[in-house]
């Protein structure tokens, strides 16, 4: 059974139709990436899955259960975690408090502690800044906090929206290494990325979204070699 199974999903903002009946599946243990141009509806897809938007039609099954009508906090409590575009960190809280909120729905204090140490190991930079107000961090630092925080929820499915946005090359590499590591540790990942080159490198499978529709899908390596994709998204080389 697929971990996440989306059937014929449509979403609108007022009169603007952002998604026009998309279907996609994420199997346990996979990294699936969603690529597409500006305004294609990638973020909208993630927001709908995590309950921030409600679909007009279609259904979303997570672990076989429908979640489309659930509220975002209930979905997060099911360990379907969304790191939104723009990072979604709490600027008025310290880095440490931000991280702790990641584990808001968990009660297993001891293991939280372990995960906390683990997350800080992944991002030593964050560790230096634990007491700083998160709002004063630089963009890259904020992205690290956002991912570290998501890990503290021990997600079954982690949805990342443009994690490399505004990050230095080195950090981008780091983030993608972390994505691999997390995945190797058993976490399923749904990745939205503008940096299609990198995304297709780490992902197992990929979907291409254009103006609210799935245009193409398949194993990531296959898509990376498709001429159309290269021309449209990878800079033509």
């Amino acid at each position: 059974m697929a971990l996440l199974d989306i059937e014929n999903l449509s979403v609108s903002y007022g009169s603007i139709r952002a998604l026009r009946g998309i279907s996609l599946k994420v199997e346990p243990g996979e990294i699936v990436t969603l690529i597409g141009g500006n305004g294609a509806g990638k973020s909208t897809t993630l927001r709908t899955i995590s309950g921030l938007l409600s679909p007009q039609e279609g259904q979303i099954l997570f672990e076989g259960k429908p979640i489309a009508s659930k509220s975002p906090h209930a979905i997060a409590a099911n360990r379907l975690i969304h790191v939104p575009e723009g990072r979604g960190i709490f600027a008025n809280l310290t880095v440490e408090e931000n991280l702790r909120l990641g584990a808001y729905c968990r009660k297993d204090t001891h293991e939280i502690r372990q995960d906390y140490e683990h997350a800080l190991e992944l991002f030593p930079r964050v560790k230096e800044r634990l007491w700083q107000l998160a709002g004063t961090l630089s963009g890259g630092e904020q992205q690290m906090v956002a991912i570290a925080r998501a890990l503290l929820a021990r997600p079954k499915l982690l949805m990342l929206d443009e994690p490399s946005l505004g990050l230095a090359p080195q950090i981008v590499q780091l983030i993608f290494q972390v994505i691999r590591k997390i995945n190797a540790g058993g976490t399923t990942i749904l990745l939205v990325e503008q940096n299609a080159n990198l995304a297709l490198q780490v992902a197992h499978r990929a979907y291409v979204l254009e103006v609210g529709k799935i245009e193409m899908s398949g194993p990531a390596a296959e898509l990376a070699n498709s001429d159309d994709i290269r021309k449209a998204y990878l800079g033509g080389h």
């Binding site: 930079r125 890259g140 230095a168 090359p169 590499q173 503008q194 080159n197 990198l198």
Partner: protein, 271 residues
């Protein structure tokens, strides 16, 4: 109509325009930027790179008066800009875009640009109320200039749409247009390519060059996309922890060990 836009006659190509010496600021204990030096010639196209949190955006904030520098000096065309308020800096000729887009979301695209353009005119309240002929001419010229600028990025057809209805990539472009409308001599671009896919980035690089040539502005560019930076920048300054660790041509910078260690990482060509 291009006279409106070609407002600055080309000076000697390598004349120093922006001169920054030993600029520095710290927040609490954190030395965000220290001893930052920069000499930007007119119509130069320089890059400012460095790891996240290195202080790049802070340099922009210092240059534009949003933060007041604690040390150092800053001058444009020999005119001291230290202590100037942000709007005075803009009036003096430095314009910028923001890393986190800051358009006027509920204003139309046209108004976003006109607003920036009006810094160069001095309207009177009375003539505004009476709508005198002078006022009408001023407004017409302003609009014409704005529409011409919008054409650069093909946005003229959407002039009446609200800025918030643009997609992310278009918003980034509008920010650049808006900055240009202030008729700057120095343009500061903070990560203009963020959120664009590789294909779009190529187009953007093209546009940046064209802007430099057509408007003869000097451009200082913050960008994490190395391909773009190395491609279009004449010189590059690398910051790390608020300190300049390297400055030079793309080749020098690319091969500098400190830069590789601090910023580029091992598989730099991956990006």
């Amino acid at each position: 109509m291009n006279q409106v836009l070609e407002h600055r006659s080309a000076g000697a190509a390598q004349q120093t325009l922006l001169e920054v010496k030993d600029l520095g600021i710290s927040f609490g204990g954190l030395k965000a930027v220290q001893n930052f030096n920069l000499t930007l010639p007119s119509a130069g196209l320089y890059g400012l790179i460095g790891p996240n949190g290195a202080g790049k955006t802070t340099v922009f904030n210092l240059l534009t008066g949003i933060y007041q520098p604690q040390t150092g000096s800053l001058s444009l065309n020999g005119k001291n800009l230290l202590g100037c308020k942000p709007h005075e800096v803009t009036a003096a000729g430095i314009a910028r875009t923001f890393q986190n887009i800051r358009l006027f979301p509920n204003l139309s695209i046209l108004d976003n640009v006109r607003l920036a353009g009006q810094i160069r005119i001095r309207p009177k309240l009375v003539s505004t109320f009476l709508r005198t002929n002078g006022y009408r001419e001023q407004e017409a010229a302003l609009k014409a200039q704005a529409m011409d600028l919008l054409e650069i990025f093909d946005l003229q057809d959407r002039a009446e749409d609200l800025a918030q209805n643009l997609s992310y990539g278009h918003q980034r472009r509008l920010e650049i247009i808006r900055a240009l409308a202030t008729k700057p001599s120095v343009l500061l671009l903070d990560e203009p390519a963020a959120g664009l896919n590789p294909q779009e980035k190529l187009a953007l690089a093209q546009s940046i060059r064209q802007i430099r040539d057509r408007f003869e502005v000097a451009i200082l560019l913050i960008e994490h996309d190395m391909q773009l930076v190395m491609d279009i920048c004449e010189r590059i300054v690398v910051l790390d922890h608020g300190v300049t660790i390297c400055e030079g041509t793309p080749q020098t910078v690319q091969n500098d060990e400190k830069v590789i260690a601090a910023y580029l990482g091992a598989i730099a060509d991956d990006a």
